[in-house]
């Protein structure tokens, strides 16, 4: 795989799953 492909694959995963993780942590904090 080229460096560009690796970077964008990680970018896709980070934005979506990372973003969702941040939202979930906010929801958990609010619940507490």
């Amino acid at each position: 795989m080229t460096g560009g492909a690796i970077i964008f694959m990680i970018f896709g995963i980070l934005v979506t799953w990372g973003g969702a993780a941040v939202c979930i942590s906010i929801a958990m904090k609010k619940r507490d």
């Binding site: 964008f8 973003g19 939202c23 929801a27």
Partner: protein, 498 residues
């Protein structure tokens, strides 16, 4: 009668995500990335998510939550003259339900075929010939196909059982099973995929960025279109689902989570699919498989890849088609809930009775897609109901709420109960960006259709199964909006809803 509610926030989010994750996440998104600039496509895609997808999700969540009703009731409570828009979306949902279920039926059949790789060496011939019994045209029905009828009825039966149990005990529980299993199964397929020879080349094809493409307006319209269709917006599902939220429920964060998790699933599905495509290319000595998206990717290309796997053929086959089945079922159930809740409310019919009648009528209508002409009719109906149903209904919905009602009123409703506040961007996106992009899509769809009729089908086919179906959904919307509410008290707006 007391309105049903979700049992937990997790239940609502899983149901909303389950609705959004559908077959398109698996067979449409990966190819869109590949075709539109590789990894660089993710830039307009995420931009579209933030400027159209999530803002419309917030709009629909807040509409349903504020008015506590199905789409027709929600729109009617804002202003009776917009009730037709809700019914239009309900009939769009009905059309989608009756053909979508048949694809789930195909996936169920293929779970069984995976045990013996019954599709043989000629996977295209098996799917189009032996299984679908494809005729020579959309008007040549060629009779019902036994295996498709049986598995379609199984899908209807699953939906029937889930809907009959209600929102909390049916839809919520089903999604609490479907969603975790779906992710686990996808991960198993993904891990198998990326460990195959040639997988790196496949991922390179999908993710290697071509920045020149994102300068093209076509790619941006494609990105907005993909976001619009992937999030189950503008066909009343999210309005209906959010109407079952308790009074003090987050709206904004739920919309972000739904949008991000749906897109996260798409990215993983893309990795799984393109690593398998890379493996096939490797096996073929550098030649790409012919069909990389849509129905034939799932039911011909993937079975061909399964044939070539060095091991775990049955396991991967079963898991892949289970993924399709679960992704499809969770969306199918949500589409059906739209219809059931709308009819139940308008005509004051008990939910169980509505589910029974709807399931029988829906199953009967869906049989046309289980004939030898089913794929043609499905393909045409799908194109027209998306291009001239959902897209236009979405445009009207956004214009109505952005310009004819005060978005600030909705903002005042959802900000105090949400986990975090959103800035002015929400109103700007709904007033400016979303109407422009949807407007361009609508014009483009009309232009394309009249300059190059869809799929090379004869005009008679397109009129019968495309234009008439799309127009019928709109006309029925107006007809049902004219009929009286059996319980007019439902239309009363309480102090909370003003």
């Amino acid at each position: 009668m007391k309105r049903e509610q979700w049992g937990s926030r997790l239940g609502f989010i899983l149901a909303a995500v389950g609705s959004a994750i559908g077959l398109g996440n698996i067979w449409r998104f990966p190819y869109m990335v590949f075709e539109n600039g590789g990894g660089a496509f993710l830039i307009p895609y995420f931009f579209a998510l933030l400027t159209a997808g999530i803002p419309i999700l917030i709009l629909e969540f807040s509409l349903g939550h504020k008015m506590k009703g199905s789409a027709p009731l929600t729109f009617a409570k804002f202003n009776k003259k917009w009730e037709w828009l809700g019914w239009w979306q309900v009939f769009i949902s009905f059309v989608i339900a009756v053909y979508y279920v048949v694809i789930i039926g195909w996936a169920i059949s293929y779970i069984g075929y995976s045990f013996t790789q019954a599709w043989g060496e000629d996977t295209v011939g098996f799917f189009a010939g032996n299984y679908l019994g494809l005729t020579d045209g959309a008007f040549i029905l060629g009779g019902l196909r036994g295996p498709i009828v049986i598995t379609t009825l199984i899908a209807w039966l699953i939906s029937f059982v889930v809907l009959l149990a209600g929102v909390k005990d049916g839809i919520e529980k089903a999604n609490k099973v479907f969603m975790p299993l779906l992710i686990i199964m996808l991960l198993v397929v993904l891990i198998r995929g990326i460990t195959l020879p040639g997988a790196g080349d496949g991922l390179n094809m999908m993710f290697k960025p071509d920045f020149s493409q994102i300068l093209s307006g076509r790619v941006w319209v494609a990105a907005y279109g993909q976001i619009f269709f992937t999030l189950s917006i503008a066909f009343a599902i999210m309005i209906t689902y959010s109407s079952y939220l308790p009074k003090k429920s987050d709206i904004v964060n739920n919309a972000f989570m739904t949008g991000l998790l749906n897109c996260g699933f798409s990215v993983l599905a893309g990795i799984a699919v393109f690593s398998i495509v890379g493996f096939m290319k490797y096996q073929a000595g550098g030649e790409l498989p012919a069909r990389l998206s849509g129905v034939f990717l799932a039911f011909a290309t993937i079975p061909e890849a399964i044939n070539q796997l060095p091991a775990m053929q049955t396991v991967i086959g079963v898991l892949f088609f289970l993924c399709l089945t679960f992704a499809g079922l969770s969306s199918f159930i949500s589409i059906n809930e739209v219809v059931v809740s709308s009819f139940s409310e308008k005509f004051n019919i008990a939910r169980k009775k509505t589910v029974i009648v709807f399931s029988i009528v829906g199953a009967a209508v869906s049989m046309i897609f289980a004939t030898g002409a089913g794929l043609y009719i499905l393909d045409i109906a799908d194109r027209f109901i998306n291009a001239f149903g959902i897209t236009i209904a979405g445009l009207v919905e956004v214009i109505v709420f952005a310009y004819m009602f005060k978005l600030a009123v909705l903002r005042d409703h959802f900000e105090p109960i949400s986990d975090f506040k959103i800035g002015k961007w929400w109103e700007i996106t709904l007033k400016v960006i979303t109407p422009i992009v949807l407007g361009v899509s609508v014009i483009q769809n009309f232009y394309t259709e009249f300059t190059a009729p869809y799929g090379g089908y004869p005009w008679s086919n397109l009129i019968a199964f495309g234009w008439i179906v799309a127009l019928a959904a709109l006309i029925l919307g107006f007809v049902f909006a004219k009929s009286k509410w059996a319980d007019a008290s439902l239309l009363e707006v309480t102090a909370d809803e003003e």
